[in-house]
């Protein structure tokens, strides 16, 4: 359905992005807070703070935001953050949900980009408004109702991307724990394809299944996991975007690891 899977490119490497910026053939989105963006950002990047997007992420509003950032159906988009790719993933996923197919994540964080001495400035680019179509992709979204029925199926794997202690304390029954930290390397937001494949295969996560990811509240950590799955070509991944916060508010069943005082090991 979308070219992400065809090309297999989930992340954009630094060199490619730099040449695309030079060619003016890319729209770069910085999802950090406005203050941080104003101080400095990757040259030509526009700012879409995640909080702004999340304040109202219904498709009509997102479409307006996308148009105002000068993105039409054909514009290649690269998203970055300074939060190991989790915030960028949530924004990328939202664009994908809207029907935008050419969106990738910068392979590293802004801090790392800066520490390498690469181009940044504090100018806000002039943006020409564009018209994007709306072609929603419900197949990449899991709602609580969908999840509740899907997780009874044998071919569905549910992945919890919060930290291990949170998982032990409480999680959606049947979920497996794959903390978001597991997905990254020291300076890349996602580990290499080969490493990711091995990690997932060890855990029994294979392309034969439908895979749903969730995290604490807004689908950032699990957004990153969604892209981790895509990076190794898993065709059928979904994001439970309202995640555990909604699940609990709806008072749906949860599960915990009983009979152990694991929190006392946590050296807080």
């Amino acid at each position: 359905m979308c070219c992400l899977i065809e090309s297999g490119n989930i992340t954009k490497d630094i060199d490619s992005l730099r040449s695309e910026i030079r060619d003016k053939s890319v729209r770069v989105i910085d999802v950090r807070r406005e203050d941080d963006y104003k101080q400095d950002h990757i040259s030509t990047a526009v700012n879409l703070p995640l909080a702004n997007l999340l304040s109202d992420d219904n498709p009509e509003r997102v479409l307006k935001l996308v148009n105002s950032m000068g993105i039409d159906d054909e514009t290649p988009v690269v998203v970055y953050d300074d939060t190991f790719g989790a915030l960028a993933s949530r924004v990328a996923w939202t664009l994908e949900y809207l029907g935008h197919s050419d969106v990738t994540l910068l392979e590293t964080t802004y801090s790392h980009w800066k520490s390498l001495g690469l181009e940044n400035d504090s100018q806000t680019p002039e943006i020409q408004h564009k018209e994007h179509s709306m072609n929603l992709q419900p197949n990449i979204l899991a709602t609580s109702d969908y999840l509740e029925s899907a997780k009874t199926r044998d071919d569905v794997i549910l992945i919890d991307n919060r930290e291990r202690l949170n998982f032990l304390e409480q999680h959606i029954p049947g979920a497996i724990s794959l903390p978001y930290r597991t997905l990254a390397t020291k300076d890349k937001i996602l580990r290499s394809k080969e490493d990711m494949k091995r990690l997932l295969e060890n855990r029994g996560v294979t392309g034969d299944s439908e895979i749903i990811t969730y995290c604490g509240s807004v689908g950032t950590l699990s957004g990153l996991a969604y892209y981790a799955l895509k990076s190794v070509g898993m065709p059928n991944a979904k994001l439970y975007v309202r995640s555990f916060k909604e699940w609990k508010n709806l008072q749906k069943p949860t599960e915990k690891q009983e009979d152990a005082n694991y929190w006392d090991l946590s050296a807080e």
Partner: protein, 602 residues
């Protein structure tokens, strides 16, 4: 050893010279886990395999493991700290745990992820191989070896060589039970009499030349039943070290009890056989080993001296104010080294727990402050930073404060040992881990670390009778169990007094059972009784030692006299009066003893 003030660039920071890891073991482990899950590998064989590779089972679940990473001779390098930090965030609970045997443990690891940890460890030359199971466990060495004012020579190279010799050695893959070597620096430090093989370096003058060797103790150990080890002979020359080690391992392998799980450590063999008979057997076996192996089998002892370079200061902060608490920390956490101008700094962790970010910080701190560029694990779930120049101590203290590692009392009674207890162990009956933390917090608040009368005493807590918390050698020791009032259970500890592991090693004597929520009160009461009855130069340790040895002449003459004074404090209140009494530390649900199958003996 050469001490110089040569400048150091970022690239030549020390890295381990020995690579303990094998990448193929990661692949093999991953494959075996898959086969096991597919039912193609039976549970018993898999458990043995898992333990041999250093992955323990976890409380009440087969889905999680604890990975125990060995740090042979206790040495740990900055890049290893950084890797462990990363692994703890990725596969564990964002923290790691220092054990009493110079291992770092990662808990609550998903079994399928264990091989990924192995893979990460290979990047920094570490392994967990033979950290569990019936093998030669991590070879320990005193954190002060090489710097201790009382030692005759540094035994670290011998500990490393011994670890190297036995790791993956077929002779040590299927012993009747686990087997432990402890090297130390001197009589005062370490616990050479409470281990299968304990070694103190010793120099003998003969015909005008001095010869290196060891005082070797055999057959000691802590456990459900503990024994004090016996000295093999007056002096064992260094060339006999390996032959003696092989001889002892062979005898144990041949004669050790492989059937009775509860009695198969070597100390039972020694005890059943009688020391003299065992001793003779060792001499005979050693003669055979020497005769048959002496040409081909040598211990590879690396005598290259450590490079000692005071790290250069990147910024000059001289003239800065010394933060509050420095004097207290200096007094209770640092010791003078043989090498002038240098001190060793002990960092106390609450019951051995350290966060991922603290592990990272430690890497930087070593690079910035240790002139030997590495750290050593201590004996009591702590870390030692050695070769810190005295002039750098205030700055180091500030750095430690910033990352929450500047707790005082590291070398005093206020830093208790607590095994992992019900936080992750299948056998635990109580949360000994949390109790140790509670005691430390309370006693530091009361500033008991500053009391010279208490500093050479120790508190050690196990969550069950099996002694992982080493309660038997504590001045005040505890092991967990359950107490009962009618139908209601409460967490309870058996308390023993007077244990020690130095030259006068003895096991603590049972005093009485203390409910978990009365442990702190009872210890404070003991201190109070001691203060009322002590002689002027007494410490708590020396006073208790006289009592348990029957040599005390004041009003309090026996353990029983102490018991009588404590009895009123341990009477259980009704559940209505004090519901908290019936809860263990760290738990808000009613207490019950619940255990799974132990794996120590698997």
């Amino acid at each position: 050893m050469t001490i110089s003030d040569l400048k150091q660039s970022a690239s030549d920071f020390a890295k381990s010279k020995i690579n303990w890891a094998r990448i193929e073991e990661a692949d093999n482990f991953a494959k075996t886990v898959k086969l096991f899950r597919q039912g193609k590998y039976d549970a018993d064989s898999f458990r043995r395999f898992r333990l041999q590779h250093g992955a323990y089972g976890t409380r009440m679940t087969g889905d999680y493991a604890m990975v125990r990473v060995k740090l042979p001779a206790g040495e740990i390098y900055p890049n290893q700290f950084e890797k462990l930090s990363q692994l703890s965030e990725q596969y564990s609970i964002g923290s790691a745990h220092f054990s009493t045997r110079e291992n770092i443990q990662l808990h609550w690891v998903i079994l399928e992820d264990v091989s990924e940890i192995f893979r990460g460890l290979t990047e920094v030359g570490l392994t967990s191989r033979e950290a569990c199971g019936n093998s030669v466990r991590n070879v320990m060495c005193s954190p002060l070896s090489g710097v201790c004012p009382d030692e005759e020579f540094d035994s670290t190279p011998y500990a490393l060589a011994t670890a190297r010799f036995f790791l993956r050695n077929p002779m040590a893959q299927n012993l009747p039970r686990k087997f432990k070597f402890n090297f130390t620096c001197c009589e005062k430090h370490g616990m050479v009499r409470m281990v299968d093989v304990g070694l103190i370096p010793q120099i003998r003058e003969m015909d005008g030349t001095s010869q290196r060797g060891f005082k070797i103790f055999l057959g000691g150990g802590l456990g459900n039943k503990s024994f004090v080890g016996h000295q093999l002979e007056e002096f064992t020359p260094e060339e006999d070290l390996l032959y003696t080690s092989i001889a002892v391992v062979r005898i144990f392998d041949r004669l050790g009890d492989r059937k009775n799980l509860a009695r198969n450590r070597m100390r039972y063999l020694v005890n059943d056989m009688g020391w003299e008979k065992f001793q003779n057997l060792v001499f005979k076996e050693r003669a055979v080993v020497r005769a048959t192996q002496s040409v081909i089998t040598k211990l590879e002892v690396d005598h290259t001296p450590n490079e000692i370079k005071r790290p250069i200061r990147i910024t000059d902060e001289s003239g800065g104010t010394i933060p509050d608490g420095y004097a207290r920390w200096f007094k209770t956490n640092t010791v003078k080294q043989t090498q002038s101008d240098y001190r060793s700094v002990f960092i106390t962790l609450e019951a051995g727990d350290v966060t991922a970010s603290q592990l990272n910080a430690l890497a930087d701190i070593i690079r910035e402050f240790s002139s030997e560029g590495k750290a050593r694990c201590g004996f009591v779930q702590n870390v030692a930073l050695r070769y810190v120049h005295e002039g750098d101590l205030p700055r180091l203290y500030s750095k430690l404060l910033e990352v929450g590692l500047a707790k005082s009392g590291a070398l005093t009674m206020t830093a208790p040992i607590g095994c992992s207890g019900t936080t992750s162990c299948n056998l635990a009956l109580t949360n000994s881990h949390r109790l140790a933390k509670e005691i430390q917090r309370k006693f530091l608040e009361l500033k008991l670390d500053e009391d010279d009368d208490l500093s050479d005493s120790s508190i050690k807590i196990s969550g069950c009778p099996n002694s992982c918390g080493q309660h038997g050698i504590a001045t005040i020791g505890f092991f967990g169990g359950g107490g009962r009032v009618g139908k209601d259970m409460y967490p309870n500890y058996q308390m023993s007094l007077g244990g020690r592991s130095d030259g006068d090693t003895m096991l603590g004597q049972t005093c009485l059972r203390v409910p978990a929520k009365r442990v702190i009160t009872v210890i404070l009461k003991i201190i109070e009784i001691f203060k009322q009855n002590k002689k002027s130069d007494d410490t708590l340790k020396s006073w208790i030692h006289r009592i348990v040895s029957g040599n005390e002449d004041s009003d309090i003459k026996s353990i029983n006299d102490i018991k009588k004074m404590l009895d009123p404090l341990i009477i259980p209140p009704t559940k209505e009066d004090d519901p908290d009494f019936y809860l263990d530390y760290g738990s808000d649900t009613s207490y019950h003893t619940k255990t799974g199958k132990g794996e120590c003996a698997a």
